[in-house]
Symmetry: C2
Subunit: 280 residues, 2 copies
């Protein structure tokens, strides 16, 4: 008789002990989208409070750009890559705007007692044609081991193929969940979840509370075939970024982070209005 | 006859073409040391102007903490490592304070037309008992290749042995100069250079304009033997961090960056009051 547990049991046990969550806070939730560089301080403080009240261990937070990163990234066409010298200023200004928003988030988190620490994606990640190629994540792993909450963000980033580009918070969330073997992704957005309309009739089918990866992919194919624009307000684009993580058995729960206590409930594992995406 | 140049020629040629400079801007120059979190905006703007006027290619800038990083790092004993949970807040606050100062520097640089880009040391470097162990420098290399000026800073950093510590801007300067094969380090401080006093009589010997590494090391041994405190205002401590780079044939020039045009002259290679340290 061996003292060691069977590999299968060991794996499931370490999974239980780990219980890492990656929380995304959408740019449209933490900023006022209509006004350039305008944070929604009230929402940031409320979310900080929901996170500290949830008392969960092993948490990584990623936030979007909203009215900080997006206008500059668009103005200088950063996502399209390095084509002319005048873009370099915009590349740096986009990063600076994101650092400004990140500072507001991390400061608010620290004030609430969250052991938050800012990690700058462009200092430790390089993409290849827009997809994460190298992610030096040792500092992040050490922060988690110390009980800290790393706070990252969508960023203007260096790219091996096109010079620079934009790394979306959603792609980053998926990469973090996969690399750190997360159990759960909580995607905090400004809608209640996935509300696809019938691609043929255009009528709403109501909130999808739960969906498997296969059904989600079929839905995407249907919408693609109908050649309509993404009728879900960009939600399918966001979700498609999460597929690599969901394929690795990470559950993804989409909730409306603009509404009080939804993020709290999602982090605690309590019943909450939203869309849960599972591998099976 | 080979079309290829001899190795020695090729090397010296690539060295000429490279000509990378690492510029350190001391915390005592760019902040008001007496008042917590008080930048010296005038000095930052003047230095930005000196850098853009010098029109040099391949530049990395590192700045110190001054009244931003140091008071917090001291208050929470960050340099001594992770000993109690209450330090975690201070670890993050030190980093946040450095990000705040870095933002002022990078914003001022961009306004002057310098293609500056902020790199966060704690996101890409890990130390071992206070010494740089891993430095993921691909983003930095890509920035240089694109003609950008990476701007780094002394930082609160994760450490494999003691949890976390402080990485001084001076250690970072030396590591950057060595890793990127710099020709020159310009150390911008708030004194005119190295003014060691005779360790026996205590009398000043006047500014050392030029010194070899061997003589510098002997001087350090003499001062060490005399068991006096570092009578040079911490200058020898700073310089000792540069020894690994100087050993790799990087010249280090110490100038008073608080005085107009000294950094400009040092970057241009013009005659300037200061101390030049050479390997031989």
């Amino acid at each position: 008789m061996s003292l060691e547990k069977p590999a299968s049991e060991r794996k499931s046990r370490s999974r239980l002990e780990r219980k890492l969550t990656v929380l995304k806070l959408g740019g449209s939730v933490i900023t006022v989208k209509e006004n350039p560089k305008t944070p929604n301080i009230q929402a940031i403080q409320r979310l900080a409070n929901e996170i500290i009240r949830a008392k969960i261990r092993n948490l990584i937070v990623v936030h979007g750009g909203g009215s900080f990163g997006h206008p500059l990234a668009d103005q200088y066409s950063i996502k399209e890559g390095f084509k002319k010298k005048t873009q370099i200023e915009g590349f740096s200004l986009t990063h600076q705007a994101m650092l400004e928003l990140n500072k507001l988030v991390v400061d608010a988190f620290i004030r609430q007692g969250i052991p938050a620490f800012a990690i700058s994606p462009s200092s430790c990640i390089i993409t290849e044609a827009g997809r994460i190629k190298i992610f030096y994540n040792s500092p992040l792993a050490k922060l988690l081991a110390m009980g800290c909450v790393p706070v990252l963000f969508g960023d203007a980033i260096l790219d091996t193929e096109i010079g620079f580009t934009i790394l979306s918070g959603d792609q980053l969330v998926s990469a973090l969940a996969t690399r750190f073997n997360a159990d759960k992704i909580v995607l905090g957005v400004d809608v209640d979840g996935l509300y696809p309309r019938d691609p043929k009739t255009g009528s709403s089918k109501g909130l999808i509370e739960q969906i498997t990866l296969r059904k989600l992919k079929n839905m995407m194919v249907d919408i693609g075939r109908a050649k309509t624009v993404d009728v879900t307000g960009g939600m399918l684009g966001k979700i498609s970024e999460l597929i690599p993580a969901i394929t690795c058995d990470v559950q993804a729960l989409i909730v409306n982070a603009s509404k009080q206590d939804n993020v709290y409930k999602a982090l605690k594992g309590e019943t909450v209005v939203g869309t849960l995406i599972r591998k099976k």
